[in-house]
């Protein structure tokens, strides 16, 4: 019965391949879900940062020039269309660094009524943006690594999900807000 044995072996092989493919598709699906969640978290952090920057710019605690620079950058970051988002957010980072370049400016914010909360919120948001971005890009990298596999490409296991893109921006926080060692708001 050599043909019977061959048939059974063939069936087992087909079954195993099927399980493997289905499992890989499941992995991909989970990775895409992870990217979506990470992207939502990143969006939330960016929005939070732009809001608090705008709030500070219109609160009248900063000098007029600094207020205008910050307001413009925060406004642009919130309004930027998707394809210019990275640039606009990077510009907001630069504006924040320019305005809060020295600790005296941060002190001025903290001294204003209700400023302590605002300073803490701003410090938290400039730290969380890089965090959220790293988690997002880490998920993107994992998904891309899997999608580059031959099996995944040839069998189109990723379906119609768009090829994931990393979010690249300058997210360097202002030193006066990021330096935790010397009494910066935490």
């Amino acid at each position: 019965m050599p043909t019977m044995t061959t048939l059974i072996l063939l069936a087992v092989a087909v079954l195993l391949i099927g399980v493997y493919l289905s499992w890989t598709a499941g992995r991909l699906d989970r990775l895409h879900a992870r990217i979506d969640a990470a992207r939502a978290a990143l969006d939330a952090q960016l929005l939070r940062r732009a809001s608090i920057a705008q709030e500070l710019a219109t609160a009248g605690v900063l000098d007029p020039a600094a207020s205008m620079v910050l307001y413009q950058a925060a406004h642009d970051a919130r309004q930027a269309p998707e394809e210019q988002r990275e640039v606009a957010e990077s510009e907001l980072s630069q504006a924040l660094r320019a305005v809060f370049g020295e600790s005296a400016q941060v002190e001025a914010v903290r001294a204003a009524p209700g400023g302590e909360d605002a300073a803490v919120e701003l410090a938290a948001s400039v730290r969380r943006v890089p965090m959220a971005r790293r988690f997002h890009n880490d998920a993107v990298r994992a998904a891309r690594a899997l999608r580059r596999h031959r099996t995944v490409r040839w069998l189109r296991l990723a379906g119609y999900a768009p090829f994931p893109l990393a979010f690249e921006m300058d997210d360097e926080p202002p030193p006066a807000l990021a330096d935790r060692g010397n009494g910066a708001p935490q």
Binding site: S22, R34, A37, M131, D138
Partner: protein
Amino acid sequence: MRIGIVCPYSWDVPGGVQFHVRDLAEHLDGLGHEVSVLAPSDDETPLPPYVVSAGRAVPVPYNGSVARLNFGFLSAARVRRWVHEGRFDVLHIHEPATPSLALLTCWAAQGPIVATFHTSNPRSRAMIAAYPILQPALEKISARIAVSEYARRTLVEHLGGDAVVIPNGVDVDFFARAEPKAEWQGGTIGFIGRIDEPRKGLPVLMKALPRILESLPETRLLVAGRGDEEEAVEDLPPHVRERVEFLGMVSDEDKARLLRSVDLYVAPNTGGESFGIILVEAMSAGAPVLASDLDAFAQVLDGGQAGDLFPREDAGALADAAVRLLSSREERERLREYGRRHVRRFDWSTVGADVLAVYETVTDGAAAVAPDERIGLRARFGLARD
């Protein structure tokens, strides 16, 4: 927030990761979060109320030493039950890239998972062989934390991707408020660590000791840690030998008092360190630090500004630097002052806030943690509807 933390190593064995998990759990608990820790432990070991035992760890040879690990059906079942009953918002696992409870949890759960990578081991052969199996489990981690920039670099090289750096935490005030002990003061050098582990570098310090005593004969060396004391001093001439005092294992309180008392803390480690918590503890206690120039140490010491560095395994350089520091009060004062400010970033209040920020980032809008149900064959082929 309901937080589940997985400690990969036995709770009854003291170690850096265990202490970190304990302190983190207690800090988060103090902030009003609900914390549960899953850790391997003997059934008879008394556990704090927040620890759940995952059963006894089995010693197996792994990667050149004996590792105590949990695996098999029983452990997997316990992990599943803990995940199911805990209904956590976030899972925080430690050392997921070793074959341990952490990896098992990663395998058995889904939802927001945060992982901390403590060591920066060179990639082992087992890991290369297991990579295809490891990768799907590691893919589930939504956020990676590395304890130092150095650990992050090795992580990126070996596993790809990225991680945020959050240092290990220290209760700075516990060390800063400790009472110095008079008998440990006056021209003393401190060393804390396993005596018989060459990586900790005691032999280098012993080799440097005669030269330090030549310039400063009143110096004493205080050594706290387990190991064979006779063997440690056997190469030293008798007059040097009597300047060495062994304190054996010390309690946390005595450790803090020792660090408060000494004029210089020396960390002559020769390698294998990914963070250097002891340096932070020494700085918290206000001890001037002299350490070997390992990447991790240089980073904790702010590139050599918060403490002095010497080329690793160079006993001559160690002796010269120690003599220079011990004979200059101003230099020691400067290091003390810098260290005091520098350690605030390692305090639990700062580190804990960062860890919570990571939790909040990954739980934002995500579903809670749940056991990862294996999909049956029928479901895979679309024959079952759920």
